[in-house]
Protein backbone atom coordinates (compact mmCIF):
# COMPACT_ATOMS: atom_id res chain seq x y z
CA UNK A 1 0.00 0.00 0.00
CA UNK A 2 1.44 3.36 -1.04
CA UNK A 3 1.62 5.76 1.90
CA UNK A 4 -0.25 8.99 1.03
CA UNK A 5 1.40 10.59 4.01
CA UNK A 6 5.01 9.87 3.16
CA UNK A 7 5.76 13.44 2.07
CA UNK A 8 5.00 14.71 5.55
CA UNK A 9 6.12 11.87 7.80
CA UNK A 10 9.89 11.50 7.91
CA UNK A 11 9.99 8.05 9.48
CA UNK A 12 11.31 5.27 7.30
CA UNK A 13 8.59 2.64 7.25
CA UNK A 14 8.50 -1.03 6.65
CA UNK A 15 5.30 -1.25 4.73
CA UNK A 16 3.90 2.13 5.74
CA UNK A 17 1.79 0.87 8.55
CA UNK A 18 2.21 2.58 11.85
CA UNK A 19 0.35 4.35 14.62
CA UNK A 20 0.99 7.76 13.11
CA UNK A 21 -0.24 6.69 9.71
CA UNK A 22 -3.38 5.15 11.14
CA UNK A 23 -4.11 8.13 13.40
CA UNK A 24 -3.62 10.58 10.54
CA UNK A 25 -5.69 8.46 8.19
CA UNK A 26 -8.47 8.35 10.75
CA UNK A 27 -8.31 12.13 11.30
CA UNK A 28 -8.50 12.79 7.57
CA UNK A 29 -11.22 10.24 6.95
CA UNK A 30 -13.35 11.72 9.69
CA UNK A 31 -12.68 15.30 8.64
CA UNK A 32 -14.74 15.32 5.43
CA UNK A 33 -11.81 16.93 3.60
CA UNK A 34 -12.14 15.68 -0.01
CA UNK A 35 -9.57 12.92 -0.54
CA UNK A 36 -8.10 14.77 -3.52
CA UNK A 37 -6.96 17.52 -1.16
CA UNK A 38 -5.21 15.34 1.42
CA UNK A 39 -1.76 15.64 -0.11
CA UNK A 40 0.59 18.40 0.92
CA UNK A 41 0.45 21.27 -1.57
CA UNK A 42 2.77 24.21 -2.04
CA UNK A 43 1.33 27.66 -2.73
CA UNK A 44 2.80 30.68 -4.46
CA UNK A 45 2.71 33.78 -2.24
CA UNK A 46 3.25 36.54 -4.84
CA UNK A 47 1.63 39.79 -3.70
CA UNK A 48 0.20 38.00 -0.63
CA UNK A 49 3.61 37.46 0.93
CA UNK A 50 2.78 39.23 4.21
CA UNK A 51 -0.52 37.41 4.54
CA UNK A 52 1.19 34.08 3.82
CA UNK A 53 3.80 34.82 6.49
CA UNK A 54 1.02 35.46 9.01
CA UNK A 55 -0.76 32.27 7.95
CA UNK A 56 2.50 30.36 8.31
CA UNK A 57 2.83 31.77 11.85
CA UNK A 58 -0.67 30.54 12.68
CA UNK A 59 0.14 27.20 11.12
CA UNK A 60 3.28 26.85 13.17
CA UNK A 61 1.37 27.34 16.39
CA UNK A 62 -1.98 26.00 15.25
CA UNK A 63 -2.49 23.84 18.34
CA UNK A 64 -2.59 26.90 20.63
CA UNK A 65 -4.57 28.88 18.07
CA UNK A 66 -7.26 26.20 18.05
CA UNK A 67 -7.22 25.56 21.76
CA UNK A 68 -7.63 29.27 22.49
CA UNK A 69 -10.78 29.22 20.39
CA UNK A 70 -9.57 31.77 17.83
CA UNK A 71 -11.44 32.33 14.56
CA UNK A 72 -10.08 33.22 11.18
CA UNK A 73 -11.81 34.68 8.13
CA UNK A 74 -9.81 34.22 4.95
CA UNK A 75 -11.40 36.20 2.17
CA UNK A 76 -10.67 37.58 -1.23
CA UNK A 77 -12.41 39.29 -4.10
CA UNK A 78 -10.65 36.84 -6.38
CA UNK A 79 -11.12 33.12 -6.82
CA UNK A 80 -8.50 30.37 -6.85
CA UNK A 81 -5.79 32.17 -4.90
CA UNK A 82 -5.41 29.68 -2.06
CA UNK A 83 -8.12 30.40 0.56
CA UNK A 84 -9.44 26.84 0.73
CA UNK A 85 -5.96 25.37 0.36
CA UNK A 86 -4.72 27.45 3.28
CA UNK A 87 -7.71 26.47 5.42
CA UNK A 88 -6.99 22.80 4.73
CA UNK A 89 -3.26 23.35 5.30
CA UNK A 90 -4.07 24.73 8.74
CA UNK A 91 -6.30 21.78 9.54
CA UNK A 92 -3.61 19.37 8.32
CA UNK A 93 -1.07 21.16 10.50
CA UNK A 94 -3.42 20.85 13.44
CA UNK A 95 -3.80 17.13 12.84
CA UNK A 96 -0.03 16.85 12.61
CA UNK A 97 0.33 18.47 16.00
CA UNK A 98 -2.28 16.45 17.84
CA UNK A 99 -2.14 12.96 16.31
CA UNK A 100 -0.02 11.54 19.15
CA UNK A 101 -2.45 10.54 21.86
CA UNK A 102 -5.53 11.31 19.80
CA UNK A 103 -6.95 7.79 20.12
CA UNK A 104 -8.70 8.03 16.76
CA UNK A 105 -11.13 10.76 17.73
CA UNK A 106 -12.61 13.24 15.27
CA UNK A 107 -10.92 16.59 15.87
CA UNK A 108 -11.68 18.68 12.81
CA UNK A 109 -14.41 18.91 10.20
CA UNK A 110 -14.39 20.54 6.79
CA UNK A 111 -17.65 21.79 5.30
CA UNK A 112 -18.22 23.35 1.97
CA UNK A 113 -21.10 25.56 3.03
CA UNK A 114 -23.13 25.14 -0.20
CA UNK A 115 -22.79 21.37 0.09
CA UNK A 116 -23.66 21.50 3.78
CA UNK A 117 -26.87 23.36 3.01
CA UNK A 118 -27.72 20.95 0.21
CA UNK A 119 -27.27 17.95 2.49
CA UNK A 120 -29.37 19.64 5.16
CA UNK A 121 -32.21 19.92 2.67
CA UNK A 122 -31.82 16.31 1.53
CA UNK A 123 -31.65 15.14 5.14
CA UNK A 124 -35.16 16.44 5.73
CA UNK A 125 -36.56 13.77 3.43
CA UNK A 126 -33.92 11.01 3.61
CA UNK A 127 -31.79 9.47 6.38
CA UNK A 128 -28.11 10.28 6.10
CA UNK A 129 -26.22 8.74 9.03
CA UNK A 130 -22.80 9.94 7.85
CA UNK A 131 -24.01 13.48 7.65
CA UNK A 132 -25.71 13.19 11.04
CA UNK A 133 -22.38 12.23 12.58
CA UNK A 134 -20.62 15.14 10.88
CA UNK A 135 -23.37 17.46 12.02
CA UNK A 136 -23.00 16.24 15.62
CA UNK A 137 -19.29 16.90 15.37
CA UNK A 138 -19.84 20.59 14.62
CA UNK A 139 -20.69 21.14 18.25
CA UNK A 140 -17.93 19.03 19.74
CA UNK A 141 -14.86 18.99 17.54
CA UNK A 142 -11.95 21.37 17.98
CA UNK A 143 -11.85 22.94 14.55
CA UNK A 144 -14.41 23.50 11.80
CA UNK A 145 -13.67 24.89 8.34
CA UNK A 146 -16.64 26.69 6.78
CA UNK A 147 -15.57 26.92 3.18
CA UNK A 148 -17.26 29.38 0.80
CA UNK A 149 -19.43 30.81 3.52
CA UNK A 150 -21.13 33.37 1.35
CA UNK A 151 -21.13 31.92 -2.12
CA UNK A 152 -24.86 31.31 -2.31
CA UNK A 153 -27.86 33.23 -1.11
CA UNK A 154 -29.34 31.39 1.81
CA UNK A 155 -32.96 30.75 2.69
CA UNK A 156 -34.18 31.83 6.10
CA UNK A 157 -34.04 28.23 7.27
CA UNK A 158 -30.46 27.68 6.07
CA UNK A 159 -29.43 30.97 7.53
CA UNK A 160 -30.90 30.26 10.97
CA UNK A 161 -29.42 26.77 10.97
CA UNK A 162 -25.93 27.98 10.10
CA UNK A 163 -26.21 30.86 12.55
CA UNK A 164 -27.22 28.46 15.29
CA UNK A 165 -24.24 26.15 14.69
CA UNK A 166 -21.72 28.94 14.39
CA UNK A 167 -23.13 30.84 17.33
CA UNK A 168 -22.89 27.73 19.51
CA UNK A 169 -19.27 27.28 18.53
CA UNK A 170 -18.47 30.92 19.30
CA UNK A 171 -20.18 30.67 22.69
CA UNK A 172 -18.22 27.50 23.47
CA UNK A 173 -14.96 29.10 22.30
CA UNK A 174 -14.43 26.56 19.55
CA UNK A 175 -12.16 27.49 16.69
CA UNK A 176 -13.56 28.18 13.20
CA UNK A 177 -11.89 28.96 9.91
CA UNK A 178 -14.14 30.67 7.38
CA UNK A 179 -13.35 31.25 3.75
CA UNK A 180 -15.35 33.46 1.42
CA UNK A 181 -15.31 36.11 -1.26
CA UNK A 182 -17.11 38.91 0.52
CA UNK A 183 -15.97 41.66 2.83
CA UNK A 184 -17.99 42.95 5.80
CA UNK A 185 -20.72 44.90 4.06
CA UNK A 186 -21.42 42.37 1.32
CA UNK A 187 -21.12 39.51 3.79
CA UNK A 188 -23.97 41.08 5.79
CA UNK A 189 -26.04 41.33 2.66
CA UNK A 190 -25.57 37.69 1.67
CA UNK A 191 -25.14 35.89 4.98
CA UNK A 192 -27.38 38.13 7.09
CA UNK A 193 -26.37 40.77 9.60
CA UNK A 194 -26.09 38.57 12.68
CA UNK A 195 -24.04 35.84 11.05
CA UNK A 196 -21.84 38.40 9.25
CA UNK A 197 -21.27 40.19 12.52
CA UNK A 198 -20.10 36.98 14.24
CA UNK A 199 -17.68 36.23 11.39
CA UNK A 200 -16.45 39.72 10.54
CA UNK A 201 -16.20 41.06 14.08
CA UNK A 202 -15.31 37.82 15.81
CA UNK A 203 -12.46 36.62 13.61
CA UNK A 204 -8.96 37.51 12.61
CA UNK A 205 -9.33 38.86 9.06
CA UNK A 206 -6.86 38.00 6.36
CA UNK A 207 -7.51 39.22 2.85
CA UNK A 208 -5.73 37.58 -0.07
CA UNK A 209 -5.22 39.70 -3.15
CA UNK A 210 -3.41 37.35 -5.51
CA UNK A 211 -4.87 36.35 -8.86
CA UNK A 212 -6.45 33.02 -9.72
CA UNK A 213 -3.59 30.48 -9.71
CA UNK A 214 -5.58 27.31 -10.24
CA UNK A 215 -3.66 25.02 -12.55
CA UNK A 216 -0.31 26.71 -11.93
Amino acid sequence: MECWYKNTCKKVHDGCRCLRYDEMLSLFQQSNIPEGKWNKIELIAGEDHNQFVRLAEIKKDIKSYVQQGNNLYLYSNNFGNGKTSWAIKLMQAYFNQIWAGNRFCRRGVFFSVPEFIDREHIRMSRDDDDFDELRDAIITCDLVIWDDISSIKMTDYSHSLLLNFIDTRFVNKKCNIFTGNLDGELLGKYAGGRLASRIWNGSELIQLNGPDRRGQ
Binding site: C9, K10, K11, R17, C18, L19, R20, D22, S26, E42, L43, I44, A45, F52, L55, A56, K59, K60, A93, N96, Q97, I98, W99, A100, G101, N102, R103, F104, C105, D129, E133
Partner: protein
Protein backbone atom coordinates in the same frame (compact mmCIF):
# COMPACT_ATOMS: atom_id res chain seq x y z
CA UNK B 1 -32.42 -43.97 54.36
CA UNK B 2 -31.23 -40.44 53.69
CA UNK B 3 -27.84 -41.72 52.56
CA UNK B 4 -29.53 -43.84 49.91
CA UNK B 5 -31.65 -40.85 48.89
CA UNK B 6 -28.61 -38.61 48.46
CA UNK B 7 -26.59 -41.22 46.56
CA UNK B 8 -29.59 -41.92 44.32
CA UNK B 9 -30.06 -38.22 43.69
CA UNK B 10 -26.42 -37.87 42.67
CA UNK B 11 -26.71 -40.80 40.27
CA UNK B 12 -30.03 -39.59 38.84
CA UNK B 13 -28.94 -36.00 38.25
CA UNK B 14 -25.28 -36.84 37.53
CA UNK B 15 -24.47 -33.85 39.70
CA UNK B 16 -22.29 -33.63 42.81
CA UNK B 17 -23.63 -30.23 43.72
CA UNK B 18 -25.46 -31.45 46.84
CA UNK B 19 -22.12 -32.75 48.13
CA UNK B 20 -19.93 -29.84 47.02
CA UNK B 21 -22.29 -27.04 47.99
CA UNK B 22 -22.89 -28.46 51.45
CA UNK B 23 -19.36 -29.69 52.06
CA UNK B 24 -20.45 -33.24 52.83
CA UNK B 25 -17.78 -35.93 52.96
CA UNK B 26 -17.43 -39.66 53.59
CA UNK B 27 -17.89 -39.16 57.36
CA UNK B 28 -21.55 -38.43 56.69
CA UNK B 29 -22.04 -41.79 54.98
CA UNK B 30 -21.71 -44.36 57.73
CA UNK B 31 -23.73 -47.06 56.04
CA UNK B 32 -22.72 -46.42 52.43
CA UNK B 33 -19.16 -45.17 52.77
CA UNK B 34 -17.84 -47.47 50.04
CA UNK B 35 -20.51 -46.38 47.57
CA UNK B 36 -19.89 -42.72 48.35
CA UNK B 37 -16.11 -43.12 47.93
CA UNK B 38 -16.63 -44.82 44.58
CA UNK B 39 -18.75 -41.95 43.25
CA UNK B 40 -16.40 -39.32 44.60
CA UNK B 41 -13.26 -40.97 43.21
CA UNK B 42 -14.92 -41.37 39.82
CA UNK B 43 -15.84 -37.69 39.86
CA UNK B 44 -12.33 -36.64 40.85
CA UNK B 45 -10.67 -38.85 38.25
CA UNK B 46 -12.98 -38.32 35.28
CA UNK B 47 -14.78 -35.08 36.09
CA UNK B 48 -18.20 -36.76 35.94
CA UNK B 49 -20.49 -38.76 38.17
CA UNK B 50 -20.47 -42.45 37.13
CA UNK B 51 -23.54 -43.51 35.24
CA UNK B 52 -26.01 -45.89 36.87
CA UNK B 53 -24.75 -48.92 34.97
CA UNK B 54 -21.14 -48.41 36.07
CA UNK B 55 -22.25 -47.90 39.62
CA UNK B 56 -24.56 -50.95 39.72
CA UNK B 57 -21.90 -53.11 38.15
CA UNK B 58 -19.75 -52.29 41.19
CA UNK B 59 -22.60 -52.47 43.71
CA UNK B 60 -25.23 -54.85 42.33
CA UNK B 61 -27.08 -54.95 45.66
CA UNK B 62 -27.63 -51.21 45.79
CA UNK B 63 -31.11 -50.08 44.91
CA UNK B 64 -31.34 -46.72 43.19
CA UNK B 65 -34.57 -45.10 44.27
CA UNK B 66 -36.58 -42.21 42.83
CA UNK B 67 -35.97 -39.10 44.90
CA UNK B 68 -38.52 -36.31 45.00
CA UNK B 69 -37.35 -34.91 48.32
CA UNK B 70 -35.78 -31.44 48.49
CA UNK B 71 -31.99 -31.12 48.82
CA UNK B 72 -32.37 -28.99 51.91
CA UNK B 73 -34.38 -31.63 53.75
CA UNK B 74 -31.87 -34.34 52.90
CA UNK B 75 -28.92 -32.17 53.92
CA UNK B 76 -30.57 -31.20 57.23
CA UNK B 77 -31.38 -34.83 57.94
CA UNK B 78 -27.94 -36.21 57.13
CA UNK B 79 -26.35 -33.48 59.25
CA UNK B 80 -28.59 -34.36 62.18
CA UNK B 81 -27.69 -38.01 61.76
CA UNK B 82 -24.04 -37.05 61.60
CA UNK B 83 -24.30 -35.14 64.89
CA UNK B 84 -26.12 -38.12 66.38
CA UNK B 85 -23.45 -40.56 65.25
CA UNK B 86 -20.68 -38.40 66.68
CA UNK B 87 -22.48 -37.64 69.94
CA UNK B 88 -23.64 -41.14 70.89
CA UNK B 89 -20.13 -42.52 71.63
CA UNK B 90 -19.41 -39.51 73.84
CA UNK B 91 -22.65 -39.86 75.76
CA UNK B 92 -22.03 -43.60 76.14
CA UNK B 93 -18.57 -42.87 77.48
CA UNK B 94 -20.00 -40.36 79.94
CA UNK B 95 -22.53 -42.97 81.10
CA UNK B 96 -19.80 -45.58 81.54
CA UNK B 97 -17.58 -43.20 83.48
CA UNK B 98 -20.54 -42.09 85.55
CA UNK B 99 -20.93 -45.65 86.79
CA UNK B 100 -17.43 -45.52 88.23
CA UNK B 101 -16.77 -41.89 89.17
CA UNK B 102 -19.07 -38.96 88.44
CA UNK B 103 -16.22 -36.42 88.78
CA UNK B 104 -14.28 -38.17 86.02
CA UNK B 105 -17.45 -38.33 83.92
CA UNK B 106 -18.10 -34.58 84.24
CA UNK B 107 -14.46 -33.77 83.58
CA UNK B 108 -14.56 -35.90 80.43
CA UNK B 109 -17.78 -34.26 79.32
CA UNK B 110 -16.33 -30.78 79.87
CA UNK B 111 -13.44 -31.76 77.60
CA UNK B 112 -15.86 -32.73 74.86
CA UNK B 113 -18.10 -29.67 75.10
CA UNK B 114 -16.15 -27.60 72.59
CA UNK B 115 -16.21 -30.44 70.07
CA UNK B 116 -19.93 -30.98 70.59
CA UNK B 117 -20.57 -27.23 70.23
CA UNK B 118 -18.72 -27.19 66.95
CA UNK B 119 -20.80 -30.10 65.73
CA UNK B 120 -24.06 -28.24 66.20
CA UNK B 121 -22.87 -24.75 65.37
CA UNK B 122 -23.53 -23.19 61.99
CA UNK B 123 -21.48 -24.67 59.15
CA UNK B 124 -19.94 -21.31 58.30
CA UNK B 125 -19.65 -19.18 61.41
CA UNK B 126 -19.87 -15.45 60.73
CA UNK B 127 -16.68 -13.48 60.50
CA UNK B 128 -16.34 -10.52 62.80
CA UNK B 129 -14.88 -7.67 60.75
CA UNK B 130 -13.96 -5.84 63.93
CA UNK B 131 -12.03 -8.69 65.51
CA UNK B 132 -10.25 -9.46 62.24
CA UNK B 133 -9.12 -5.86 61.64
CA UNK B 134 -5.52 -6.65 62.59
CA UNK B 135 -5.22 -9.32 59.91
CA UNK B 136 -6.41 -6.81 57.31
CA UNK B 137 -3.74 -4.39 58.40
CA UNK B 138 -1.11 -7.07 58.14
CA UNK B 139 -2.26 -8.07 54.68
CA UNK B 140 -2.23 -4.44 53.55
CA UNK B 141 1.30 -4.01 54.87
CA UNK B 142 2.36 -7.15 53.09
CA UNK B 143 0.83 -5.91 49.83
CA UNK B 144 2.54 -2.56 50.24
CA UNK B 145 5.83 -4.31 50.74
CA UNK B 146 5.51 -6.67 47.79
CA UNK B 147 2.28 -7.02 45.84
CA UNK B 148 3.57 -9.85 43.65
CA UNK B 149 2.29 -12.44 46.13
CA UNK B 150 -1.20 -11.08 45.68
CA UNK B 151 -1.37 -10.25 41.99
CA UNK B 152 -0.26 -11.66 38.69
CA UNK B 153 0.47 -8.85 36.21
CA UNK B 154 -1.97 -8.68 33.30
CA UNK B 155 0.69 -8.06 30.67
CA UNK B 156 -0.73 -4.59 30.12
CA UNK B 157 1.06 -2.05 32.29
CA UNK B 158 -1.79 0.45 32.18
CA UNK B 159 -4.33 -2.17 33.27
CA UNK B 160 -2.03 -3.18 36.10
CA UNK B 161 -1.84 0.42 37.23
CA UNK B 162 -5.61 0.43 37.57
CA UNK B 163 -6.16 -3.10 38.86
CA UNK B 164 -2.92 -4.13 40.49
CA UNK B 165 -3.05 -7.25 38.30
CA UNK B 166 -5.11 -10.45 38.46
CA UNK B 167 -6.02 -11.07 42.07
CA UNK B 168 -4.63 -14.37 43.34
CA UNK B 169 -7.01 -14.44 46.29
CA UNK B 170 -9.92 -15.01 43.96
CA UNK B 171 -10.55 -13.53 40.55
CA UNK B 172 -13.05 -14.39 37.89
CA UNK B 173 -12.18 -11.86 35.20
CA UNK B 174 -14.42 -11.59 32.16
CA UNK B 175 -13.28 -10.14 28.84
CA UNK B 176 -16.47 -8.97 27.16
CA UNK B 177 -16.57 -8.11 23.45
CA UNK B 178 -18.55 -8.63 20.30
CA UNK B 179 -17.52 -11.50 18.10
CA UNK B 180 -14.18 -11.24 16.21
CA UNK B 181 -12.97 -8.26 18.18
CA UNK B 182 -9.88 -9.88 19.69
CA UNK B 183 -11.05 -11.38 22.99
CA UNK B 184 -8.97 -14.52 22.57
CA UNK B 185 -5.87 -12.58 21.56
CA UNK B 186 -6.18 -10.45 24.65
CA UNK B 187 -6.68 -13.48 26.86
CA UNK B 188 -3.73 -15.33 25.41
CA UNK B 189 -1.48 -12.28 25.57
CA UNK B 190 -2.15 -11.97 29.27
CA UNK B 191 -1.55 -15.68 29.87
CA UNK B 192 1.71 -15.50 27.93
CA UNK B 193 2.86 -12.63 30.09
CA UNK B 194 2.14 -14.71 33.21
CA UNK B 195 4.08 -17.57 31.65
CA UNK B 196 6.98 -15.24 30.82
CA UNK B 197 7.31 -14.24 34.47
CA UNK B 198 7.42 -17.88 35.51
CA UNK B 199 3.81 -18.75 36.32
CA UNK B 200 2.36 -22.12 35.44
CA UNK B 201 -0.36 -21.37 32.94
CA UNK B 202 -3.39 -23.35 31.86
CA UNK B 203 -5.62 -22.55 28.94
CA UNK B 204 -8.82 -24.16 27.75
CA UNK B 205 -9.18 -23.40 24.04
CA UNK B 206 -12.36 -24.96 22.70
CA UNK B 207 -12.55 -22.77 19.59
CA UNK B 208 -9.23 -23.42 17.86
CA UNK B 209 -6.96 -26.28 17.04
CA UNK B 210 -3.88 -26.63 19.23
CA UNK B 211 -1.60 -25.86 16.27
CA UNK B 212 -3.37 -22.57 15.58
CA UNK B 213 -3.28 -21.71 19.28
CA UNK B 214 0.42 -22.53 19.21
CA UNK B 215 1.01 -20.20 16.25
CA UNK B 216 -0.80 -17.47 18.13
CA UNK B 217 1.53 -18.12 21.04
CA UNK B 218 4.51 -17.66 18.71
CA UNK B 219 3.06 -14.45 17.30
CA UNK B 220 2.33 -12.96 20.71
CA UNK B 221 5.56 -14.12 22.30
CA UNK B 222 8.01 -14.06 19.42
CA UNK B 223 6.19 -11.47 17.24
CA UNK B 224 6.34 -13.61 14.13
CA UNK B 225 3.87 -12.77 11.41
CA UNK B 226 0.81 -14.86 12.22
CA UNK B 227 -0.27 -15.10 8.62
CA UNK B 228 3.23 -16.19 7.55
CA UNK B 229 3.57 -19.00 10.07
CA UNK B 230 0.00 -20.15 9.51
CA UNK B 231 0.42 -20.24 5.75
CA UNK B 232 3.96 -21.63 5.79
CA UNK B 233 5.47 -18.47 4.31
CA UNK B 234 8.88 -17.04 5.10
CA UNK B 235 9.26 -16.14 8.81
CA UNK B 236 12.89 -15.15 9.46
CA UNK B 237 14.27 -16.50 12.73
CA UNK B 238 11.38 -18.88 13.39
CA UNK B 239 13.56 -22.02 13.51
CA UNK B 240 15.99 -20.61 16.06
CA UNK B 241 13.10 -19.20 18.09
CA UNK B 242 11.55 -22.68 18.30
CA UNK B 243 14.93 -24.20 19.24
CA UNK B 244 15.19 -21.77 22.11
CA UNK B 245 11.56 -22.09 23.15
CA UNK B 246 11.54 -25.86 23.45
CA UNK B 247 14.35 -25.72 26.02
CA UNK B 248 12.28 -23.64 28.43
CA UNK B 249 11.09 -25.50 31.52
CA UNK B 250 7.99 -23.57 32.49
CA UNK B 251 4.91 -25.20 30.98
CA UNK B 252 2.02 -23.51 29.19
CA UNK B 253 -0.65 -26.21 29.32
CA UNK B 254 -3.39 -26.29 26.76
CA UNK B 255 -6.58 -28.30 27.06
CA UNK B 256 -7.34 -29.09 23.43
CA UNK B 257 -10.57 -28.20 21.70
CA UNK B 258 -11.65 -31.84 21.59
CA UNK B 259 -12.11 -32.02 25.37
CA UNK B 260 -15.49 -31.08 26.80
CA UNK B 261 -15.14 -29.94 30.34
CA UNK B 262 -17.19 -28.82 33.29
CA UNK B 263 -15.98 -26.82 36.26
CA UNK B 264 -14.90 -29.86 38.32
CA UNK B 265 -12.86 -30.88 35.27
CA UNK B 266 -11.21 -27.47 35.22
CA UNK B 267 -10.59 -27.75 38.95
CA UNK B 268 -8.96 -31.14 38.54
CA UNK B 269 -6.82 -29.84 35.68
CA UNK B 270 -5.66 -26.93 37.83
CA UNK B 271 -4.86 -29.19 40.78
CA UNK B 272 -3.19 -31.94 38.77
CA UNK B 273 -0.95 -29.52 36.89
CA UNK B 274 -0.36 -27.00 39.70
CA UNK B 275 -1.72 -24.23 37.50
CA UNK B 276 -1.25 -20.68 38.83
CA UNK B 277 -3.41 -18.84 36.31
CA UNK B 278 -6.16 -20.31 34.15
CA UNK B 279 -7.65 -18.97 30.92
CA UNK B 280 -10.91 -20.21 29.42
CA UNK B 281 -11.56 -19.09 25.88
CA UNK B 282 -15.34 -19.15 26.06
CA UNK B 283 -17.26 -19.76 29.26
CA UNK B 284 -20.22 -20.98 27.24
CA UNK B 285 -18.26 -24.06 26.14
CA UNK B 286 -18.16 -25.43 29.67
CA UNK B 287 -20.83 -27.90 30.80
CA UNK B 288 -22.82 -27.26 33.92
CA UNK B 289 -22.34 -30.27 36.15
CA UNK B 290 -25.08 -28.94 38.42
CA UNK B 291 -27.63 -28.72 35.66
CA UNK B 292 -30.97 -30.35 36.02
CA UNK B 293 -32.97 -30.95 32.88
CA UNK B 294 -35.27 -28.01 33.57
CA UNK B 295 -32.43 -25.49 33.86
CA UNK B 296 -32.22 -22.81 31.20
CA UNK B 297 -28.96 -21.84 29.50
CA UNK B 298 -28.94 -18.70 31.60
CA UNK B 299 -29.17 -20.72 34.82
CA UNK B 300 -26.43 -23.07 33.68
CA UNK B 301 -24.09 -20.21 32.85
CA UNK B 302 -24.82 -18.68 36.24
CA UNK B 303 -23.92 -22.00 37.88
CA UNK B 304 -20.70 -22.19 35.87
CA UNK B 305 -19.72 -18.64 36.81
CA UNK B 306 -20.51 -19.28 40.48
CA UNK B 307 -18.46 -22.48 40.45
CA UNK B 308 -15.51 -20.89 38.65
CA UNK B 309 -15.47 -18.09 41.20
CA UNK B 310 -15.62 -20.63 44.01
CA UNK B 311 -12.66 -22.66 42.72
CA UNK B 312 -10.69 -19.47 42.09
CA UNK B 313 -11.09 -18.56 45.76
CA UNK B 314 -10.50 -22.11 46.94
CA UNK B 315 -7.39 -22.74 44.86
CA UNK B 316 -6.16 -19.13 44.83
CA UNK B 317 -5.89 -19.18 41.06
CA UNK B 318 -7.14 -16.25 38.97
CA UNK B 319 -9.48 -17.45 36.24
CA UNK B 320 -9.80 -15.38 33.08
CA UNK B 321 -12.55 -16.06 30.65
CA UNK B 322 -13.98 -14.48 27.53
CA UNK B 323 -17.64 -13.80 26.96
CA UNK B 324 -19.41 -12.64 23.86
CA UNK B 325 -21.65 -9.63 24.09
CA UNK B 326 -24.98 -9.54 22.32
CA UNK B 327 -25.88 -7.17 19.50
CA UNK B 328 -27.52 -4.59 21.72
CA UNK B 329 -24.50 -2.34 21.58
CA UNK B 330 -24.12 -2.08 17.82
CA UNK B 331 -25.51 1.36 17.23
CA UNK B 332 -22.48 2.80 15.59
CA UNK B 333 -21.65 5.77 17.79
CA UNK B 334 -18.44 5.81 19.79
CA UNK B 335 -20.15 6.10 23.16
CA UNK B 336 -21.99 2.84 22.54
CA UNK B 337 -19.16 0.76 21.18
CA UNK B 338 -18.21 -0.65 24.57
CA UNK B 339 -20.52 -3.50 25.54
CA UNK B 340 -22.07 -2.96 28.93
CA UNK B 341 -22.83 -5.51 31.63
CA UNK B 342 -26.37 -5.93 30.36
CA UNK B 343 -24.92 -6.90 26.97
CA UNK B 344 -23.44 -10.15 28.31
CA UNK B 345 -24.85 -12.81 26.06
CA UNK B 346 -27.18 -15.43 27.52
CA UNK B 347 -26.77 -14.74 31.22
CA UNK B 348 -26.24 -11.78 33.48
CA UNK B 349 -25.24 -14.33 36.12
CA UNK B 350 -21.78 -14.28 34.52
CA UNK B 351 -21.09 -10.63 35.21
CA UNK B 352 -22.86 -10.88 38.54
CA UNK B 353 -20.46 -13.57 39.72
CA UNK B 354 -17.31 -12.11 38.22
CA UNK B 355 -14.96 -9.88 40.13
CA UNK B 356 -13.91 -7.98 37.06
CA UNK B 357 -15.35 -7.23 33.63
CA UNK B 358 -13.19 -5.66 30.94
CA UNK B 359 -15.18 -4.71 27.89
CA UNK B 360 -13.69 -3.65 24.62
CA UNK B 361 -13.82 -3.28 20.88
CA UNK B 362 -11.40 -3.28 17.98
CA UNK B 363 -11.29 -0.49 15.44
CA UNK B 364 -8.67 1.29 13.33
CA UNK B 365 -6.02 -1.26 14.36
CA UNK B 366 -6.60 -0.35 17.97
CA UNK B 367 -7.98 -2.24 20.91
CA UNK B 368 -10.12 -0.07 23.16
CA UNK B 369 -10.59 -1.44 26.67
CA UNK B 370 -12.75 -0.28 29.53
CA UNK B 371 -13.07 -1.61 33.05
CA UNK B 372 -16.80 -2.06 33.25
CA UNK B 373 -16.90 -3.78 36.60
CA UNK B 374 -14.29 -4.19 39.26
CA UNK B 375 -14.08 -4.75 42.95
CA UNK B 376 -11.63 -2.36 44.48
CA UNK B 377 -10.50 -0.26 41.53
CA UNK B 378 -11.79 2.55 39.40
CA UNK B 379 -14.48 1.58 36.88
CA UNK B 380 -15.04 3.04 33.42
CA UNK B 381 -11.44 3.98 32.70
CA UNK B 382 -10.63 3.63 29.03
CA UNK B 383 -7.31 2.30 27.79
CA UNK B 384 -6.35 2.16 24.13
CA UNK B 385 -3.69 -0.04 22.52
CA UNK B 386 -2.42 0.19 19.00
CA UNK B 387 -2.57 -3.44 17.96
CA UNK B 388 -0.63 -5.07 15.21
CA UNK B 389 -2.57 -8.32 15.00
CA UNK B 390 -0.22 -9.99 12.59
CA UNK B 391 2.83 -9.34 14.78
CA UNK B 392 1.03 -9.67 18.11
CA UNK B 393 2.16 -6.28 19.35
CA UNK B 394 0.15 -4.08 21.69
CA UNK B 395 1.31 -0.54 22.15
CA UNK B 396 -0.30 1.88 24.56
CA UNK B 397 -1.83 4.99 23.01
CA UNK B 398 -1.82 7.93 25.43
CA UNK B 399 -4.80 10.24 25.67
CA UNK B 400 -4.18 13.88 24.82
CA UNK B 401 -7.71 14.95 25.70
CA UNK B 402 -8.01 13.64 29.24
CA UNK B 403 -7.62 15.79 32.32
CA UNK B 404 -4.53 13.82 33.26
CA UNK B 405 -2.80 14.35 29.94
CA UNK B 406 0.39 12.35 29.89
CA UNK B 407 2.69 14.80 28.14
CA UNK B 408 5.78 12.64 28.53
CA UNK B 409 4.20 9.58 26.96
CA UNK B 410 2.82 11.68 24.12
CA UNK B 411 6.25 13.20 23.52
CA UNK B 412 7.78 9.71 23.53
CA UNK B 413 5.33 8.67 20.83
CA UNK B 414 6.12 11.76 18.76
CA UNK B 415 9.84 11.20 19.08
CA UNK B 416 9.51 7.59 18.02
CA UNK B 417 7.95 8.75 14.78
CA UNK B 418 10.58 11.45 14.34
CA UNK B 419 7.81 13.97 14.37
CA UNK B 420 9.19 17.48 14.62
CA UNK B 421 7.52 20.86 14.50
CA UNK B 422 7.08 21.97 10.92
CA UNK B 423 9.31 25.02 10.62
CA UNK B 424 9.34 25.07 6.86
CA UNK B 425 8.77 28.51 5.36
CA UNK B 426 7.71 27.01 2.07
CA UNK B 427 4.04 27.85 1.71
Amino acid sequence: MVEVQILSKILQTKSMSIIIDNELNEDYFNSYKEQFDFIQNHFRNYGTVPDKETFLYEFPEFEIIDVEESNQFMVDTIREEYVYSKTVPIINNVADKMKKNSYDAVKYLQGQIEYLSELVSSKNPPLDLIKTAQSRLEKWEEKKEDSSHFYIPTGFQELDELLGGWDREGELAVILMRTSQGKSWLLQNSLIHAWKIGKRVGMYEPEMSSIKTGYRFDTLYGHFSNSAINKGEDAPGYESYIDELKNKDNPFYLIPSTEHLDVPGIKKFIQDNKIEIMGIDGISYLSDYRASRYDSLSTSLTHIAEDLMAISIELKVPILTVVQSNRGDERGRVANKFPDLFNVRDSDGISYNSTLVISGYHENNTMHLKITKSRGSEDNKTIVYYWNIDKGEFRYVPDNQSDEEDENTIEDVRREYEDEEDTSDVF
